[in-house]
């Protein structure tokens, strides 16, 4: 649009002038229309979160009387203090934080050491490695075969089962590799001539240049681990190692009955409505605090991943 205005010829006769004015008023109406639509979309995205926040901060009798909409009534932090003083919840929270850090670090390392060698066209057997990788993208053995494998590897009920099976995502590896391809080969060649080893080239040339994509993939892996619960549901019986989302799932499904709520660790049933909201809110916060800062990176990551190989 702005380009069209800039290219407008210097002299315009009257009819053209009129039609231009009509068009620009149409454009302005269009602008307003699109802004309104976007605001509505934004509201739809945010309302559930705002409602949740309002509930978590409200007094329990206001909740029971159905008075809370988007603004807290009888503002208090009781629900949060209850959540924070619940040992079971805090333990699970801490374990999930640790787990997320370990998984993210290991996954990034695996992704890098898988993607880096494959960027060398001189690597003999590269096509074999690529075939091995591609097949896994098309054919997955399925839930039960995976479960039986974990069983045979004695990984059931072992905390490692939450780390190792998902340590490498081929999709993320392809993003990494595409990024490595974009690093000019001349950089690598000059280092080779200087006698640098391939470890060294990876460490001092490739990795420092790949910070944006590393940040993106770290976000993807961290979000995946933080949000994942199905592996724990299938492979874990030991409640001490339940990640937060699975604990949350159990809480949400059981809190309707008071006894179970107390059993699950929350001893003040009067709070239960606000408590549910606070628990959900608290489990979301870490990721909501991080992702906006990585926006410009992950947009690039998603786009690279979409490029066909």
């Amino acid at each position: 649009m702005s380009i069209a205005v800039a290219k407008r010829p210097e002299k315009v006769d009257e009819t053209q002038e009129v039609s231009r004015m009509v068009r620009s008023s149409q454009t302005r109406a269009g602008d307003i229309f699109f802004v309104v639509v976007c605001v509505l979309i934004g509201i739809i995205c945010l309302v559930p979160m705002i409602n949740l926040l309002a509930r978590s901060l409200s007094a329990s009798d206001a909740l029971v009387k159905h008075e809370v909409y988007l603004w807290p009534k009888g503002l208090n932090f009781d629900a949060y203090t209850t959540v924070l003083s619940d040992i079971k919840y805090i333990k699970s929270f801490g374990w999930t934080v640790i787990l997320t850090f370990i998984c993210t670090f290991l996954s990034l390392a695996m992704t890098v050491i898988c993607a880096y060698p494959l960027t060398f066209s001189k690597l003999k057997g590269r096509s074999i490695f690529n075939i091995i990788i591609t097949i896994t993208m098309f054919f997955n053995a399925g839930t039960i075969p995976n479960y039986l494998l974990m069983k045979d590897l004695n990984l059931l009920d072992n905390p490692l089962v939450l780390i190792i099976p998902g340590v490498l995502s081929i999709y993320n590896m392809i993003i990494m590799r595409s990024f490595f391809y974009g690093i000019p080969e001349s950089l690598r060649e000059s280092a080779e001539i200087d006698g640098a080893s391939y470890f060294r080239i990876l460490w001092s040339i490739y990795l420092p240049l790949s910070k944006p994509v590393l940040a993106t993939l770290a976000l993807f892996y961290a979000v995946g681990r933080w949000n994942g619960y199905s592996d724990a549901l299938m492979y874990m019986k030991n409640k001490d190692f339940y990640p937060l989302q699975l604990l949350l799932y159990n809480i949400l499904n059981n809190m309707n009955s008071v006894e179970v709520a107390t059993q699950e660790g929350f001893s003040s049933p009067g709070l239960s409505e606000a408590l549910k909201a606070a628990t959900v809110m608290f489990s979301t916060i870490p990721i909501l605090c991080i992702y906006p800062f990585l926006q410009k990176y992950f947009i690039h990551g998603v786009t690279v991943g979409a490029v066909k190989e």
């Binding site: 649009m1 069209a4 149409q26 269009g30 602008d31 699109f34 802004v35 976007c38 605001v39 979309i41 934004g42 739809i44 995205c45 945010l46 309302v47 559930p48 409602n51 909740l63 695996m110 050491i113 898988c114 001189k122 690597l123 490695f129 091995i132 098309f138 997955n140 399925g142 839930t143 039960i144 075969p145 494998l149 590897l153 099976p165 590896m173 470890f199 990876l202 933080w226 994942g228 619960y229 199905s230 299938m234 989302q245 949350l248 799932y249 949400l252 549910k276 909201a277 959900v280 489990s283 979301t284 990721i287 909501l288 992702y291 906006p292 926006q295 998603v302 786009t303 979409a306 066909k308």
Partner: protein, 324 residues
């Protein structure tokens, strides 16, 4: 350098195989580090992606806890016993129907949403506003399905949910969005779109950014308005992206993720909510019918691959760039 070394080596040795081993030695001396790096990922793939494939055989065998896969006896009916059982199993047939229905609804209703959103975002002029809306729209993608289920409870439960509070205050009847099987389908589809439309629009926005500005310039000189530019330039410009994503969606029409249906389903709506992945979990891992559920899983992946290949072939026939 390598070529020079190769020439030297081949000239020095008269015998072919000797030359070859020497050549390999030179090669490995240079490149061994790359193989060292690849070692762990390949071991990982072999153990965690290929090793489970041997357990697929269980679909054709009578599962026994004391024997290994190779020793188990073959199932009846030339090994097809469990496939036959599956297709006589009402719960499975229901799960299959639900999987296809929910995926189709997702595709028909959900697929266009990110495209429309990308088109709208593209029309925004104020950079700050545009970025804020994008950040907000990406947010739901970062929530787990358990959390979205928690949000859904707060929004949709009949007496205490926000939406129903508004409806009853306006004098209407509370709607059981989560507990009525048919309404549940609507909620499921809506939450799916809510979670993914912003994120999925990223790819379309990137494709739109790649369209040459000259096209718009020419169109506006010719007097094409906004909507016409959208229709005649933007949409054709992202057509190939749309086709690629459509192929992937079609390939996934029988696939079923686990997290979303499992988190959102409850006992009252099971007739519409049970899908293959949750069926396999409940009957396999919980119910220990390993052979039956492995057969179901195998059926699902084979049909999935067939769908994907067919969709790809079709799009190439229609003159589009395929997925592969």
């Amino acid at each position: 350098m390598i070529a020079a070394a190769k020439r030297l080596v081949t000239r020095g040795k008269s015998e072919g195989s000797d030359a070859k081993t020497a050549e390999w030695k030179v090669y490995l001396k240079r490149y061994w580090q790359l193989y060292v790096l690849l070692f762990l990922p390949m071991v990982y793939l072999l153990i965690f992606k290929y090793e489970p494939m041997k357990y697929v055989l269980i679909a054709f065998k009578k599962y026994s806890i004391v024997q290994n896969v190779w020793e188990m006896p073959w199932a009846g009916n030339n090994g097809m016993e469990y496939f036959i059982q599956a297709f006589h199993n009402r719960d499975f047939l229901n799960a299959l129907k639900n999987t296809i229905c929910l995926n189709l609804l997702d595709l028909i209703i959900g697929f266009p949403v990110p495209i429309i959103f990308a088109l709208i975002i593209n029309e925004l002029r104020f950079k700050k506003f545009k970025k804020t809306i994008q950040t907000i729209a990406y947010m739901p993608h970062f929530l787990s399905w358990v959390i979205i289920y928690g949000l859904a409870i707060q929004l949709f439960t009949p007496s205490t949910g926000l939406i129903n509070m508004v409806i009853t205050n306006l004098g209407g009847q509370a709607v059981p969005f989560l507990n009525d099987p048919h309404k549940w389908v609507g909620t499921y589809i809506f939450l799916g779109i809510w979670q993914s439309f912003g994120w999925n629009s990223i790819i379309y926005l990137a494709a739109i950014a790649g369209i040459s500005p000259e096209l718009y310039e020419a169109a506006s000189v010719d007097g094409a308005g906004r909507l016409r530019q959208m229709w005649h330039i933007t949409l054709p410009g992202i057509k190939s992206t749309i086709v690629v994503l459509l192929i992937m969606a079609l390939g996934n029409i029988i696939g079923s993720a686990f997290d979303r249906p499992f988190a959102l389903q409850n006992n009252l709506v099971m007739q519409n909510a049970e899908v293959i992945s949750t069926f396999v979990y409940k009957n396999g891992i919980k119910g220990l019918q390993f052979s039956l559920t492995t057969a179901v899983g195998l059926f699902q992946s084979v049909v999935g691959v067939i769908f994907l290949l067919t969709a790809n072939w079709l799009s190439r026939k229609l003159g589009e760039r395929g997925l592969f």
